[in-house]
Amino acid sequence: MNYDNVEILLVEDSADDAMLTIRALTKSGLTNKLHHVIDGAEALDFIFCEGVYASRNNKEYPKLILLDLKMPKISGIQVLEKVKSDPELKSIPVVMLTSSNEGPDIEKCFALGANSYIVKPVDSDNFFKAIKEIGLFWIKLNQPQH
């Protein structure tokens, strides 16, 4: 399988949410190069070309990581920390996705270098709107520096 040219890495443990997110991005014309991983561990394998992703070209970085905060095994915060503390990877924009703004994690995410933070709205119209705006902003307008 070819994982090169992946523009958006979606890290989302909820298949339902993932499908809604992918649908919103598709409707915005942004899903042709999206890859979905289902937890933090797989996300790290993908990013660092380990495990099933060992054969991936480690010089090809996604242009955007959509990272769910609350996931089993390795949380979004841990993934964020690894990405932002790696000099090669830290310029990849990471947008945190979460179901709520209740957690104590918002400030921590920004402190660790998250580029944006969105609370997934219940209302699907708003949800689609938010995902679409994020995708457009970080992919189309905010080109990564490398």
Binding site: S14, D16, D17, L20, R23, K70, T98, S99, S100, N101, E102, G103, P104, K120, P121, V122, D123, S124, D125, F127
Partner: protein
């Protein structure tokens, strides 16, 4: 001759005889006396010689005596002087004596007084010892009481620490509970809403009119549930949120809120008459929420009036600043006033005016946390005025 003459001659003879005799006697006696006198004379002459000698002796003695007398006079004078001196001295001594006697008396008086005072002191001393003993006992009791209080205090402090820890634990638990509720409840509702939306968008042709209505109802209700969850969480978060007090420029804040709200809501916006408002002290983000809720309420309930004005102003009353938002909108019946600030309490139907009924409960909680009060006056179909007061001084907590 007569006889008598003869007799008288006899008698005179006799008398002459006798006198003769007598003279002879007398002569004899005189001879003897003479002899005696001669002897006496002799005696007297030897006596005179003796007397001369004695006289000389006496003269010498006399002279001696005169010397002695002169000396005695001098001695006498001396003695008289000394006597006088002694009298003076005696007088002085008498005075001194009297003085001493007086002093003595005084001293005796004083001694008597001292003796009384001494007795008094001894009594007082005893009293003091008694008192000291009492004080010692009282002191011990006090110490005991103090120890007890300290012990109680320590226990209380311990209890406070335990209770605080419990409260902190409960608070933390509530926090994670809220987090779970918001995170885990929202996710399925989002799925319901989102997937129904997909049905509506991608499979609309497979549903008849009733089916579309059902889909709309699902979407509307799931959206509503999401709002309710969000509102409830926002409300519960208020009680836990720390109030960060700062100086707030209320005129600026109201302007900002109004601009944000007018940007969101499009149709039939009322006119605003915003006066210059006195600054307040409070948590800016919380007070902003108060203005958002009150102003959006005013806009919402003015919507069905053709052209109305919302007045925002403030006045000072004692130690309070009272801010108010007055609309000429739908108003409400004051007999339901007690429900106005209740959580999820609404005085209008969803169809009439949308809303979850949390806005005013949030306003009340925020103002409570600022040690202020919120209240309202309204008349159905004429409009409502919401007031909130904030203390002029820095709120505690």
């Amino acid at each position: 001759m007569k006889k008598n003459d003869s007799d008288e001659l006899i008698i005179a003879y006799k008398e002459l005889a006798f006198q003769h005799q007598e003279k002879e006697n007398r002569a004899a006696e005189l001879i003897i006396a003479n002899k005696e006198l001669i002897f006496q004379n002799e005696e007297k002459e030897s006596r005179a010689a003796e007397l001369i000698i004695a006289n000389k002796e006496l003269a010498f003695q006399n002279e001696e005596k005169e010397h002695r007398a002169a000396e005695l006079i001098i001695a006498n004078k001396e003695l008289a002087f000394q006597n006088e001196e002694k009298e003076h001295r005696a007088a002085e001594l008498i005075i001194a004596n009297k003085e001493l006697a007086f002093q003595n008396e005084e001293k005796e008086n004083r001694a008597a007084e001292l003796a009384i005072a001494n007795i008094e002191l001894a009594f007082q001393n005893k009293e003091k010892e008694k008192r000291a003993e009492e004080l010692f006992i009282a002191n011990q009791e006090l110490k005991q009481a103090e120890d007890d209080i300290r012990k109680l205090n320590d226990e209380l402090e311990q209890k406070v620490i335990e209770r605080t820890a419990q409260l902190e634990a409960v608070n933390k638990e509530l926090g994670s509970f809220s987090y779970s509720v918001s995170h885990d409840l929202r996710a399925p509702i989002r799925a319901i809403n989102g997937y129904t939306k997909i049905l509506q968008e991608d499979y609309a042709d497979k549903f008849d009119a009733d089916g579309v209505k059902v889909l709309n109802t699902i979407i509307r209700n799931s959206k509503k549930m999401g709002e309710l969850i969000d509102d409830l969480l926002a409300f519960s978060k208020l009680g836990r949120k720390e109030v960060k007090v700062s100086e707030i420029d209320m005129t600026d804040l109201v302007k900002l809120v109004r601009e944000e709200l007018l940007y969101e809501d499009g149709d039939n916006i009322p006119e605003f008459d915003v006066k210059i408002l006195p600054p307040a002290q409070g948590d800016k983000s919380l007070i902003k929420q108060v203005w958002i809720n009150l102003i959006s309420n005013a806009i919402k309930y003015s919507r069905k009036k053709i052209k109305t004005t919302v007045e925002i102003n403030a006045y000072e009353q004692d130690d309070l600043i009272v801010y108010y938002v007055k609309d000429a909108g739908a108003g409400f019946d004051m007999q339901y006033y007690d429900k106005l600030f209740g959580v999820f309490q609404r005085l209008h139907s969803q169809e009439e005016f949308e809303g979850t009924g949390i806005g005013l409960a949030i306003v009340q909680k925020i103002i409570d946390r600022h040690k202020g009060t919120v209240w309202a006056e309204s008349k159905l179909n004429e409009g409502t005025c919401f007031y909130f007061s904030l203390p002029k001084t820095k709120p505690l907590n």
